[in-house]
Symmetry: none
Subunit: 204 residues, 4 copies
Amino acid sequence: MRKAPRQERSRATVDVIVEAATRVLARRGWARFTTNEIAAVAGVSVGSLYQYFPDKLAIAEAIRQRHLDEVLAALSAADDESGALPLGERVGRFVDGVIAAHSIDQALHRVLVDEVPLAARSACPEFEAEYQRRYRVLVATSTGGSAASNGADSADTAARVLSAAVEGAVHAAARRGDLATPALRTELVRLVLAYLRDRQQARE
Amino acid sequence: MRKAPRQERSRATVDVIVEAATRVLARRGWARFTTNEIAAVAGVSVGSLYQYFPDKLAIAEAIRQRHLDEVLAALSAADDESGALPLGERVGRFVDGVIAAHSIDQALHRVLVDEVPLAARSACPEFEAEYQRRYRVLVATSTGGSAASNGADSADTAARVLSAAVEGAVHAAARRGDLATPALRTELVRLVLAYLRDRQQARE
Amino acid sequence: MRKAPRQERSRATVDVIVEAATRVLARRGWARFTTNEIAAVAGVSVGSLYQYFPDKLAIAEAIRQRHLDEVLAALSAADDESGALPLGERVGRFVDGVIAAHSIDQALHRVLVDEVPLAARSACPEFEAEYQRRYRVLVATSTGGSAASNGADSADTAARVLSAAVEGAVHAAARRGDLATPALRTELVRLVLAYLRDRQQARE
Amino acid sequence: MRKAPRQERSRATVDVIVEAATRVLARRGWARFTTNEIAAVAGVSVGSLYQYFPDKLAIAEAIRQRHLDEVLAALSAADDESGALPLGERVGRFVDGVIAAHSIDQALHRVLVDEVPLAARSACPEFEAEYQRRYRVLVATSTGGSAASNGADSADTAARVLSAAVEGAVHAAARRGDLATPALRTELVRLVLAYLRDRQQARE
DNA sequence: CATGAATGAGCGTTCATTCAT
DNA sequence: GATGAATGAACGCTCATTCAT
């Protein structure tokens, strides 16, 4: 951001802009994400956009930030305090969280992931890290708590494969509009559980 | 195509254009896939582009056609004639095929799948169908040949989830440049096998 | 118009654009009526054109509107309040009006009528109708007021033939630069009067 | 023309080109009168066009020439050998000739007159002269044969006004598709006769 | 002579960005 | 701070014309 909004009015203006920009990006896609339309929808002038954002990409970045925060919140809400539950139950809640996270503004999510250029996407390592961490925790607890002998490295790969696999399946379902289908949850839980149990056995 | 190249010179030009356009699309993405740069990279004039292609999208379509053909070929080559092998072996070859398929110009693949607008992906459904079929066959043979009682529908969902999961994991690895890592193959095989066996057990 | 000019500066810009565009259209014709030349002549950038007009045709439409208004004004000014005069006098004034109307930027007029495509002439029918009405009134009053037995239809044809004939003669003179020649007026008055009187006699 | 076609085959090629170009010009208008389409319709290559014509305008000029020849022929055919007839009869035949002349390929005529740029149109003075001559003859014979005292100049203006008027009326009718309407002929004959007789009386 | 592949200036139009008010 | 008029580089695309074959 070019300038921190000092006064309350300014903070409100920034919110209005991001709100409007979000709607434009979700509805029209990156190619029709034009500063003039954002300003028009927000009810401010183009000049005001550039008061707070150095360029168009910065607005997209703000949108992404906000969206990812919401996604993390949804993810956390579902499997909170599930540490003591049996693995089957934990995985169920975890999958619910992932599905819930992807149910937030799917149109926006798709545009953000597929269309907004790398410059704006690459700058979210904290989110990726945090997201990945959940998978690593799941993998770690499933194989008996703390990282064992040859664990760390293998567990990392496992977490990565698992997360990418689950993300892929959920994204595909989202694209088909099948996120709410119970079969999706069933099969995902099966996939994750089967994989984790197989790794458990392999370690014994 | 707007015009069939009749002379040898023009056939060469078309090749040069598609080659150059492929590089531009892979490097710059759809948003920077401009006719002027394609022409410059190809070392021809814009006019020559429009001599053979009605518009920019048609060039992308030609690129896609060529690429998807190569991908299917790589996929087929790996698990050819694996029908009689034990499941573990079959899954291993299958995963090899998928990894091989994604080793072909994955930057291009991502752009083609994520950025190029739908209109240019018109022939994609056939590819998608053919691609999906491989997964369905794998799922079907793992559960004992022909579709049993409640089989067909459930098998379809399973194939879909499995393919999306494997694709997701492979795409993520490709993005990281980890396609050749042996651990990727190991874990993917484990994932697929564990899932398929779990489904087998559930049916008994 | 795409946007109403709110500030005074922009109102001036619109005027400058229309003025410049008028000169370009009259001088170069529709085929060379290019946005870049309009902008250059107006001393503004192309962008400013599109700030106020959705496309090139809309500029032509604005030019036409302005021009036709001026033409109708010139036409009206000459034969105003000539209702009670003898026919010879009325026809004289009428011809004066027509000649005056065609003395206004006739190069522009020709281009507007002959070259600018139909879409931009959308409001033309109203003008044509108003223009024709003058001829119909002249024909009607010359044959004794209200439409007699077989009057209406025949009067319409007569008005059409008369207007097309007068317009043709005046256009040709304009093309030759002879609009101000007294002989033109004399002969036109003779033509109209002779025709109207002949029709009068035929009705008795 | 760039090159006189020496051999018979060449003359045939030129004919084919002009024929095709005429159809393209009449159907598509000047704006879509493209050399590539002409060549395609003619079944020759663009190169061949430039073998015989220096540029696009030259083709249009050839079309115009051919068309005007046909128009003059139609005009002549109608009032041939009418020298000894009474004025009413002569004018009738004359008007028939004009109407017949404008009935030839009206679409082409309109494009030729309205759209083809001046460079190609201005170069037909012989046609204009010949066309005008007919009107001058009509005017001259109506006022008693050879040019009298103050005749020459006045007769010239009269011929010019008369021709432009008749042309205007006929063009307008052509545009409306009313060329064949009997009322058109009736009123035109009346217009011409009334005018000529009025001039006769004025000279006495 | 005929071909048609190749050219490239030029078109209409868009939109991120600036800056005088 | 806020405005919105102004900018102009860049886009996709056309088509008259040339020239190697």
